[in-house]
């Protein structure tokens, strides 16, 4: 069940094979939902669930899908899972669901899910595919949470809605929030910086 090979599938997307910084998949949502920590966390959780189960289901039926129409079959499976996630979010965390707005629907076209199905689940057994899905979802989540943490802390001075910087009394000594951190362009630059840090620590990832 948890052999060395399977564990590698699960943990390599956390770092050396990270979906966002190395495979460059699923960037749209990673940038758009990370202005605050809470939506970033909810999004990471939803994507992990959808990726894991979509990989599992496609892997179970992989021998019965004609390759010409496989994209439509994959999209139907993914869309059904996303509808489930959307309904659950609307029922239990309505405010976050409102903040995420169209980005819940856009999980369907999140390249991580399609990418992992095409690259892995179509050619492997269900259990490794499931682990691969969870691994990539969590790897995506790690980057989202790092981005959400810094953007919310530096941009709004809060964490998970709690006014951290105000309690620390930084505003009394003249600290001002950096409004640019909340705006869209800064998300791109932050991802660029994360890639820079990761690649200077791991020279194997540097592009020629």
């Amino acid at each position: 069940m948890f052999s060395a090979k399977n564990m590698k599938l699960l943990t390599s997307p956390f770092g050396v094979n990270n979906p966002i910084t190395v495979q460059i998949l699923g960037i749209c949502s990673a940038l758009a939902v990370t202005a605050k920590l809470k939506p970033a966390f909810v999004m990471a959780l939803s994507v992990t669930v959808v990726t894991a189960f979509a990989s599992l289901i496609i892997s179970l039926i992989r021998n019965g899908i004609p390759s010409r129409i496989r994209i439509i079959v994959q999209l139907v499976v993914i869309a059904a899972l996303v509808i489930l996630v959307d309904q659950v979010l609307k029922a239990y965390v309505y405010d976050v669901s409102k903040q995420l707005s169209v980005f819940v629907g856009l999980i369907i076209t999140n390249c991580i899910i399609m990418g992992r199905i095409e690259a892995f689940a179509l050619g492997n057994k269900p259990w490794p595919s499931f682990l691969d899905g969870i691994g990539n979802g969590v790897g995506y989540g790690i980057i989202l949470i790092i981005l959400g943490f810094f953007r919310e802390l530096l941009g709004a001075g809060t964490l998970w809605g709690y006014p951290v910087l105000e309690k620390l009394g930084l505003y009394h000594v003249g600290y001002v929030n950096n409004g640019l951190m909340i705006l869209p362009p800064m998300a791109l630059i932050c991802v660029g910086l994360i890639i820079w840090i990761q690649r200077s620590r791991n020279k194997n990832l540097i592009e020629k």
């Binding site: 460059i24 998949l25 699923g26 960037i27 749209c28 949502s29 940038l31 758009a32 129409i69 994209i71 439509i72 999209l75 139907v76 869309a79 059904a80 996303v82 509808i83 959307d86 309904q87 707005s101 169209v102 629907g105 856009l106 369907i108 076209t109 999140n110 390249c111 399609m114 705006l183 869209p184 362009p185 800064m186 998300a187 791109l188 630059i189 991802v191 660029g192 910086l193 890639i195 820079w196 990761q198 690649r199 200077s200 990832l205 540097i206 592009e207 020629k208």
Partner: protein
């Protein structure tokens, strides 16, 4: 008419798909290495967007939104059709329309214009999973445009905005290959930072009132 023009201009510059909402980032980063391929992909995305958004608009208007089934005549023995709310089905129907449309376009192009088909290659099927297209349909639903004309203007504007953005980025990337970029930033890293800087430039359009 004025309304339609202002929606069109607004979705090209102010609500640009790439710089304001990050839609279609994956292919935006991956396919922007040369201006020529960027041009082909931009054209294909614009075409699929302009065709699928109005289709999904009609679906939303006459089948999905709450009370949309009111056109079914009660005389057919289907009572209470006005109260049905099928909006939870919109994701699956929208993506089905987009995926089947892309498949259809692929077959038609392959049959009647083989040269163009070879030029576009792998990009054609990949348009189905371009977030910009799905995002266009979802925004159309969320913003509730008043007519099919407005929805089409929005689709055309967003498509052209995306096209413009990918050509601009591809041109910059062609030039930057001659620059001395720090090794760990080469390729993807510097592309992200470039896109961010372009986004800041595009933010200057935000002050325009339409």
């Amino acid at each position: 008419m004025e309304n339609i023009i202002s929606i069109f201009i607004k979705s090209i510059f102010i609500d640009n798909m790439v710089f304001a909402f990050f839609f279609g980032m994956c292919s935006f980063i991956a396919v922007s290495k040369s201006v020529k391929t960027a041009m082909g992909l931009g054209a294909a995305v614009t075409f699929v967007m302009v065709t699928t958004v109005p289709l999904n608009y009609l679906l939303n208007e006459y089948i999905l939104s709450p009370g949309a089934l009111g056109w079914i005549n009660p005389a057919y023995g289907v009572g209470g059709a006005q109260e049905v709310d099928l909006s939870f089905l919109s994701f699956i129907l929208f993506i089905a329309v987009i995926a089947s449309f892309v498949q259809l376009v692929e077959m038609v192009v392959e049959k009647f214009a083989p040269a163009l088909y070879n030029q576009l290659g792998i990009f054609l099927p990949l348009i189905a999973v371009n977030c910009a297209i799905m995002g266009g349909s979802l925004f159309m639903q969320e913003r509730a445009y008043a007519s099919a004309g407005e929805a089409t203007a929005f689709a055309a504007g967003s498509g052209i905005g995306w096209w413009l953005a990918i050509i601009l980025l591809a041109a910059i990337r062609e030039k930057i290959t001659y620059s001395n970029v720090p090794a760990p930033l080469k390729g993807v890293g510097i592309t992200f930072i470039l896109t961010g800087l372009m986004g800041i430039a595009f933010m200057t359009f935000m002050g325009i009132q339409l």
